[in-house]
């Protein structure tokens, strides 16, 4: 599976290179792989690309953390009774379809264009899909497990933590995968709109800036970096977690 992916990637890269070297496109708009790699290396050496990336990643982690905590709290609240369940349900119905970028004008009005505004957008884009997945996971927990848990004396929050959480892990992980992808998207677009705050604008701002300077290769270098980070998280981080948990426990095919 993984090897097949690698072959496809190599093929696509070759195709790119063929087009770039065909002489029918301008290197100013369609740089070759060599130029992109050179731009990537030099911008990493210069330090800016990396520091912008770190800036962006820290914001994402912050947003993910806050979003996860809120999602957990809301998921537990929704399980405390019918009233709360319908309340959380309503919240999801209202907020989930709303793209974070549509909220931008209001957020600028309320929070300005600083870091907290970006965190807010990320929290918004992460919270609802995570919440939906956590709730689905709780609902899919076999009654037998909670019966066993209650039998040995677990109640309330302990029952949630020891039974419902591990039992919903397959849902949690897929929720995190969605949340991760969404937060990247939200972050890059927000950064492009907001621009630099105190010299730091993150990856989105970096890409935008390279376009203004007509540094096409540098732009693609940043895109490449985004993809590399995505692959790293998806294939290495999530894969490893799945291997050590749900696949090991025989819970993966849910």
């Amino acid at each position: 599976m993984k090897n097949k992916k690698l072959i496809w990637i190599l093929l696509l890269l070759a195709l790119w290179q063929a087009v770039a070297l065909s002489g029918r496109v301008s290197p100013l708009t369609f740089p070759s792989l060599g130029m992109i790699l050179k731009a990537l290396v030099s911008s990493i050496m210069a330090g800016e690309l990396l520091s912008q990336t770190v800036f962006s990643l820290v914001i994402i982690l912050e947003g993910l953390l806050i979003g996860t905590l809120l999602a957990l709290v809301l998921a537990i609240v929704s399980r405390t009774g019918d009233t709360m369940n319908s309340f959380v349900d309503t919240l999801i119905t209202l907020a989930h379809p709303l793209p974070g970028i549509a909220l931008l004008p209001i957020i600028i009005l309320w929070l300005g264009t600083g870091r907290s505004a970006i965190v807010f957008i990320i929290v918004h884009s992460v919270l609802w899909p995570l919440l939906l997945n956590i709730i689905a996971g709780f609902k899919a927990t076999p009654k037998l497990y909670s019966d066993v848990g209650r039998n040995i004396g677990l109640r309330g929050i302990k029952l949630f933590y020891d039974i419902y959480m591990p039992s919903s892990l397959p849902y949690l992980i897929s929720g995190f995968k969605i949340a991760w992808a969404r937060s990247w998207r939200a972050l890059i677009s927000a950064e492009m709109v907001f621009g630099a705050v105190g010299g730091k604008g993150g990856l989105g701002w970096y890409i935008f800036k390279q376009r203004v300077f007509m540094d096409t290769a540098g732009m693609f270098a940043a895109l490449l970096l985004i993809m590399l980070i995505g692959i790293l998280i998806e294939e290495v981080f999530f894969n490893k977690i799945e291997k050590q948990t749900i696949r090991r426990w025989g819970m993966a095919e849910k």
Binding site: D147, N151, G153, K158, I163, P166, S167, T245, R248, G250
Partner: protein
């Protein structure tokens, strides 16, 4: 002492309701082994769940000692009929240790671990202590669940056809094990089965259930001395008596 008084239970279906248990009354003495014998669908599991506090009866009362049963308790452990009652994210050993840990029993973690291994050995699963439940066969899962329940030493064991999926030899050795532990710990055991011989080997008394709705047909005393070797002639009479009760 466990006491059931005029317990009724029905389940709602699309339109009508299905009466599953009707007017069930009996008592279980402390330290007794009571077998519940009945055809499939006669409400045995439903009855056990009610006694364990997992569901509520529509009318009537269930009490242990002088207290009404209102919710499940670690002092009366139910071994479910379903194979998948082990927690899949814990190894076999962790599954056995965990309830003791939750209930802060047996001092240290090391003591709990030793104890868990001891019980896994008894159900012949010591070699699989490090396996996850999905790597076990149905019968092995059931044995692990039995070890988990026994290791906690509850004062009441509610067992729902626990040996149903085992071969004759394993079944026999587990019956012997159960009797050993019963003798040692003085635990009260309610044991559901549809195997007449098993009921004869284990029970002090046997409740025979009628089908649709589940009613008590008869409560049969079984006072043969233990150990019981059911190949002997005296048992045959009891066997036929129970058999004819079940088949009517």
């Amino acid at each position: 002492m466990i006491e059931l008084k005029e317990v009724n239970k029905s389940f709602k279906r699309d339109q009508d309701t299905l009466k599953v248990l009707e007017n069930i009354s009996f008592t279980v003495e402390k330290g007794e082994i009571l077998c519940i014998l009945g055809a499939s669908g006669s409400g045995k599991s439903t009855l056990l769940r009610l006694m364990g506090g997992f569901d509520f009866c529509d009318s009537g009362s269930i009490s242990i000692g002088s207290e009404a049963v209102v919710s499940p308790s670690p002092d009366s452990i139910l071994i479910f009929q379903d194979f998948n009652q082990l927690l899949p994210w814990k190894t076999v050993l962790q599954n056995v240790i965990y309830p003791m840990k939750v209930n802060k029993k047996y001092g240290s973690e090391q003591q709990r671990r030793d104890r868990a291994m001891e019980y896994l050995e008894m159900v012949q699963l010591a070699d699989f202590y490090n396996a996850y439940p999905h790597q076990l066969s149905g019968g092995m899962k059931q044995r692990a669940a039995i070890a988990r329940a026994l290791a906690l030493e509850p004062s009441i064991l509610l067992m729902d056809e626990p040996f149903g999926s085992l071969d004759a030899l394993t079944r026999q050795s587990l019956q012997e094990l159960l009797l050993q532990i019963w003798k040692r710990a003085g635990v009260t055991i309610i044991f559901v089965t549809h195997d007449i011989q098993e009921a004869i080997i284990l029970a002090d008394r046997i409740i025979v259930m009628d089908n649709k709705p589940g009613r008590i047909k008869d409560i049969v005393q079984n006072s043969f001395d233990r150990p019981r070797d059911i190949s002997g002639g005296d048992y045959l009479e009891l066997y036929h008596r129970l058999y004819s009760m079940l088949s009517v």
